[in-house]
Amino acid sequence: MSTKSNPPKLAQKILRWFCSEKVLEFLQGDLEELYHLRLERNGRLKAALHYFLDVFSAVRPFAFKQSRSNSNIAMLKNFYFTSIRNFARNKRYFLTNLTGLTIGLTSFVLIAFYIINELSYDRFHTNHQQLYRASTVANINGKINREAPTSAPLAKVMLEEYPEIKNAVRVVKNDPILVDQAGRKFIEDGLLYADASFFTVFDFQLIEGSTKESLKEARSVVFTESYVKKYFGSEDPIGKQLNLGADSTFYVITGVVADPPANSHIQFDMLVSLSSLPNVYDGNNWIGSNAHTYLLLHDEVSVPELEVKMQDIFYNYMAPQIEYYTGQSIGEWEASGNQVKYNLFPFKDIHLKSDFGKELVPPGNLSYIYIYGVIGLIILCIAIFNYVNMATAQSATRAREVGIRKVMGSSWSLLVKQFIFESVILALFAGFLTAFLAYMFKPSFELILQKELAFGILSSPWVLLTLLVLSIGVGILAGVYPAFVLSRFHPVMAMKATLSPAGTSGWLRNGLVVIQFTASIVIIIVTLVVYHQIDYMLTKNLGFDKEQVLVIQRPDALHDHLEVFEDELKTNANVRQVVHSLTLPGKGYSIRSYRPVDRDETFLFPNNQISFHYDEVMDLELVAGRFFSKEHKADSNAVVINESAVEALGYENPIGQKLTSPWHRGEYLTIIGVMKDYYIESLHQPIVPVSLELMPDRSSKYITVKLNGGSDVRKTLEFIENKWTGYTNDHPFQYFFYDEEYEKLYQNETATGKVFAVLASLSILIACLGLVGLISFNISTRRKEVGIRKVLGASVHTLVWLLSNNMVRTALIASMLSWPISYFAIDYWLQNFAERTTINPWSFILATGVVLVIGGLAISFQTIRASLMNPVESLRQE
């Protein structure tokens, strides 16, 4: 041996700690010999690691120190039975504590499931560290465009020209499509097109079919398990045929894949081979971006360097096409400030950190993880404080036991251990209940969150183990302070059963109550504001009307019958107006570029293509000019913009101004009208410039039907569906009510509101349990005082005040503390919105009032009972 190397000290210490003398020498000798063997074979790290494992493998009865462990076990047994007896004697005390801790732990565990779910997104792929998503960040005419999908040919070029790339897969998400399987027709929006390498790069579990072949041939389809059930029940789906959309050639099912886990940002119900879309698969269009491109890099590839190297692709492939479309040389194009850069985004961070548009699944929000995490910890702390208060409050009942133990020679440290052990036992009971409750309430929690969670109590033994450790930890934390208080009782005083409250410091207990109430008030205030904001967003005047609006999806199924269908609907008295459009507010707009004829400047506006009367259905307000009209033939080359667009263009007098746009091939577009500003996204986004143009063809995605208020909606729906079925040859009729659909944009907020409401009530419940505990402690120490005061003529009224003024003071301090804290919390959360509700002082007052009233009710019972008590009862004890 060249260098002297010894086994890890810590492991040796552990070994010496539990191992008896008799065994130690030979065991340690063997371990050390093995360590040196491994040092030569496997190197230092592995040898050290194995040494640790060996030490732990020896934690068995044969090795334990005999004498000590016996007395230890006897002691633990005694502790255990004392605890259980104490629980049995004070059932109310036991139950309130158990309830508090269980509620706290259950809330904490459920929130932890949510957080783990968010943090574990996409980590189940073995390759997740080496996976990157390639996107382009384009800066065009001063507007930075970050979109997740990139041009389809990129993946192929990367694979061919860059040795850093091990593998690549493209995923394409198109519009919902009609699936027709032997007459079973459904419109599916969970359909993804994917390269054959999909199952090699990712770890989605293929149940039937071949990893390499299933998505290779054109028109191959892989179903998820739940979709096999939906379409085929228990039949074997392999080889079955189906039709997709307008494609008249059959698609064949070549495989079955397990449903993607909830914590995957790639979600699908069926996969179709990308080779079924030849113009994407082999396409050479570098301008469009429609393929989410995932690259598997070799180990030790420097990503920043690769990003720089990828710039060559831009000059070799994309630049010529830009030159072709813009008519500028790439040098000129770049000189005017335009730029396209490649970006490699870490796959595992997409869910929480992506700021790219058009992600496959809307990304999560990191700030919600913090918010939920903090709330979870707060609830757990409230529960722990609660135990501390209850345990100290009940200390009088244990004083005699402490006295006797001390007289019998128990040491102070042993008493501390005993009481900590007792709280650990209680926490373990709570942990046990938590396992059940977390299992039972997970589905309701998922329902509130509107989100499936990949983790549950039973997902892995580690979860239960962690819960066990957590419970023990909580037990120790909760038990420390009461243990110190109880163990400090002077034996003589304790035996005399006259407790001096001065001996136990009140400030800590009061401080804990202050914290509990501060936290409760903060949670209630935040809940109120969350609801305020949701209400504000749902009722705010968006600039258009979403009530009484029915939207029919996929009007392309009508083909040539679109106008006829619309005209027929209008014959119904309950239908006020019918229009069609490419998109709707909240459904995503595409960008069009405009150029004023008199200036060399380009403007990019989100654009919607619509039919006549769109303004009536959406109730848009016209500020100047007119809307599109059938009488004006030239309106196919007209545009209506909003006030923000006018401002952006800088026109004093917008009506009649002429613009050009590449979509109109050199023809002039005349501005014929200006609308008042309205929101085209949720209120998370500010108001932006918008342009409206007439739809030149039948490529609309939505038919929007404005109903008359107060009409029989069910009957009207039936009427519309009848017409639809008649004109579309049994195409499924899919519709939604616009206001309901729009609310979905605020799903995160609604979920948060509900979670907060539940947590707020739980926190105040636990806090009240603690409060009752504290007040009963106060009363128990002042019984004689109350009795004497009563004898001397104090009224019930003054006595109640005497007993509760301390509490009132505590509550006032709590509200004072809670207001600034809530203000900052609210302010942080409201940063998520472009349009914020004003912070209403009434929320603060209301929340504080609620807590004070509930707290007051909780203590009044105790104080009034104490004040009404016959003084003889309390005074005759001595």
Binding site: V23, L27, D30, L34, S57, F62
Partner: protein
């Protein structure tokens, strides 16, 4: 007579090793023969159990540098241990003979 499967293997290993049977060598030979790697803790636990049952006896000695100067605990089969092994083997053979189609003539 109680003898677990692992205990039986340990007894056999001690028998094979003769004069040189202690923790490390027993572990190595078990790994070699069974292709499974028993943890040292499990092994020591079994050795102490077997010693208690009287199938093994131990002697101490042979401190080396690699062991940090600590002695080894050498194990030997007792006559009781040998008897127990024989009984276990006999029981198994007799039992196996009653299983139709089980080939018992595998050499090696």
């Amino acid at each position: 007579m109680k003898l677990g499967a692992f205990e039986e293997l340990v007894l056999l290993a001690v028998g094979v090793l003769g004069e040189d049977a202690y923790g490390v060598t027993i572990k190595e030979i078990l790994k070699d023969k069974t292709k499974k790697n028993p943890s040292i803790g499990a092994l020591h636990s079994a050795l102490y159990r077997l010693e208690e049952k009287g199938y093994l006896e131990a002697s101490e000695g042979g401190a080396t540098n690699e062991r940090g100067g600590r002695r080894k605990k050498y194990y030997h089969l007792t006559s009781h241990g040998i008897k127990v092994l024989e009984e276990a083997n006999e029981l198994r053979m007799a039992f196996s003979r009653e299983v139709p189609g089980l080939n018992l003539n595998t050499s090696s």
